[in-house]
Symmetry: C2
Subunit: 342 residues, 2 copies
DNA sequence: TGTTAGCACTCGGGTTAGGTGAGTGCTAAC
DNA sequence: GTTAGCACTCACCTAACCCGAGTGCTAACA
């Protein structure tokens, strides 16, 4: 028994209805509300087929049907293919964004808020991450007599900074000299290259060694830097708006996952640079999210720098809307963050 | 009818029991579980008095009594007076803290996690905030051809940074020269003093003006800088462990307050530098938290820099435990953050 | 062969009624 | 002032019940 056009139309109607109402949808509803020119009996037959094909589940015998993950998958694939993204939320996103946010961090967290506000789901925004960042400048700023702030600027325009200890006899000028020297040596290199170079250097003076150790230590930590990626969340409590999560236990599971951002970051990083990805239920790979869908999009700042934005909600998500909004938001972020970098 | 010692002992027993079980406690329970040498009938009489005095509430006529906010207030005041804080959680805090966290931000967020883990409540940790910060160093680091990173180091050891636009003809050395000049001029001043000084300066060259504008703009934003204080949360979903929040609507309200950190920050900032403050239920001033208590403590880095840590939980909180843990954590933070600043 | 009407059946959810027990307030005796 | 006893209240639990939405199946129809 193949999947024909009529079955697909019925399935689509079921999904649409379920997304809207969250209650199992029966044959009568489809026959009446969505004019198919078919009686409920016929729909029933088709629904029975669709269930056999694995697109529908039945919570219990005398309830209507609900779409399975497989059904959503089909639905979404269809959506993506048909290029439904022409609907334009760009203006709306801009409206919501409003005020000028200057710092990367501000933009990120504001974006998360706007995204959650517009979608009513939980939003994720991950700060840009370069695949192979090249060092541009490296500078030490005195903080106290024994410590300095190490600032590294890369071609992604991204700065990473940390405090390192330095000898007490290094004043501002000395630090600047060292900074110049390091910049000259390392400029243009990737982080890993720089690390290798510095490992080779033998520094005789103890204070020079201390600085070097600090720099190496920091590069090291930046290099294996998965946990450090900034992740902003918005509308974490939005999930409670949905009846699927009126059970406190489930809600707790969900919120716990959000709290320990690690799993999320991993999830978001593990997806190349696809324009959009949609993970439905079990596809997320996180047990607590088995009734959720995660829709993500990437935004690009430069050739090798990109970040991720996404939305988490119940599997019965308004995929079309969400995809369109993500699209607009991605562009907006590219604009906002891109301008600062050149 | 006055409040005598026996009434107080009974009240204390009721509070202890209710904190533990969250179910209304009856006269029989008190008479049996806590050996008072009194029959349930006597306890009943006393309880009736306590209710009249406003220390007890009765959910409905045939249920036990639960402590009112007023009762908790009495309980906590007693606790604080009696200097119950000798019990020492310092070692335990250190254990949990474990690994070295170097950056301020790391320490803050880790502290929030440890605090929530140890107390099982929701934890707040606010980054240190100086009343009158003095500028120590000010430096510009080139980021791209048209922008630079402005780093300001203050005597609290706290750095604030932002990206400002600069003329395209300023190279690293030129920026360093400007930095030196600015540092010389502004070092030792407070932020507001510096701001005033710079407003007086007339800069003729356009590129100098651009830099100046950037610096002024930034100082401005730091000056009125209440929203920017870093606030880390830990264990936000812990609240769901408590039966008082098994109602999803209530939980949503609570979580929403946490999400828009503004109210919390305001709340935390509005309390001088008391060693401890305890706000019970309505005392928080936030409707959504009317069934919660907020216990806070301050930790000091230097004379004019202090931060706040706190715990939010149901009004029936284990105040003694929480106060003791906050105390230990405060000291730990002073240690961890203090060392970097000198 | 596909569609439809009709019908018996299922089962979750809401409602009602009754029983249970914890807890109270009051009174009278100690 | 304390206690024992007793009647009373009321939230909570359970079982029984009904209702209705929805299904699957069958037979008739186009």
């Amino acid at each position: 028994m193949p999947m024909d056009a009529r079955k697909f139309r019925i399935l689509q109607a079921i999904i649409d209805d379920y997304i809207l109402t969250a209650i199992p949808v029966g044959s009568r509803t489809i026959s009446k509300k969505y004019e198919m020119g078919l009686s409920s009996a016929t729909i029933r037959n088709e629904m029975s087929d669709l269930e056999e094909l694995g697109y529908l589940d039945q919570p219990h015998v005398s309830a209507g049907r609900i779409p399975s993950a497989k059904a959503y998958r089909l639905y979404v694939d269809q959506l993506l293919q048909s290029g439904i993204l022409r609907s334009d939320d760009t203006a709306s996103v801009k409206d919501h964004f409003g005020s000028r946010a200057r710092q990367m961090e501000d933009v990120i967290s504001r974006a998360a808020q706007v995204l959650s506000g517009m979608t009513n789901y939980t939003a994720l925004v991950m700060s840009p991450k370069g695949r192979e960042l090249h060092i541009r400048t490296l500078q030490l700023v005195p903080v106290s007599s024994t410590s300095a702030l190490l600032v590294i600027v890369t071609d992604g325009g991204i700065m990473r900074d940390t405090v390192i200890r330095v000898g007490s006899d290094l004043d501002s000028d000395a630090l600047y000299a060292i900074s110049r020297m390091l910049t000259e040596k390392l400029s243009g290199r990737t982080l890993s290259e720089a690390l290798k170079m510095l490992h080779g250097v033998q520094e005789s003076s103890p204070r020079g060694k201390q600085v070097l150790d600090g720099v190496v230590g920091f590069l090291d930590s930046v290099e294996g830097d998965t946990a450090k990626t900034k992740l902003a969340l918005g509308g974490t409590s939005n999930i409670l708006n949905f009846p699927e999560y009126s059970d406190v236990e489930k809600a707790k599971g969900f919120l716990s996952v959000l709290e320990t951002k690690d799993k999320l970051i991993q999830l978001l990083e593990n997806q190349g640079e696809m324009a959009f990805t949609v993970r439905i239920g079990p596809e997320t790979g996180i047990p607590e999210l088995k009734d959720c869908s995660l829709v993500t999009a990437t935004y690009h700042l430069s050739d090798n720098t990109h970040g991720t934005i996404g939305v988490i909600g119940p599997t019965r998500m308004q995929y079309g809307r969400v995809l369109s909004i993500l699209n607009a938001m991605g562009q907006q972020l590219t604009d906002l963050l891109g301008q600062d970098k050149e």
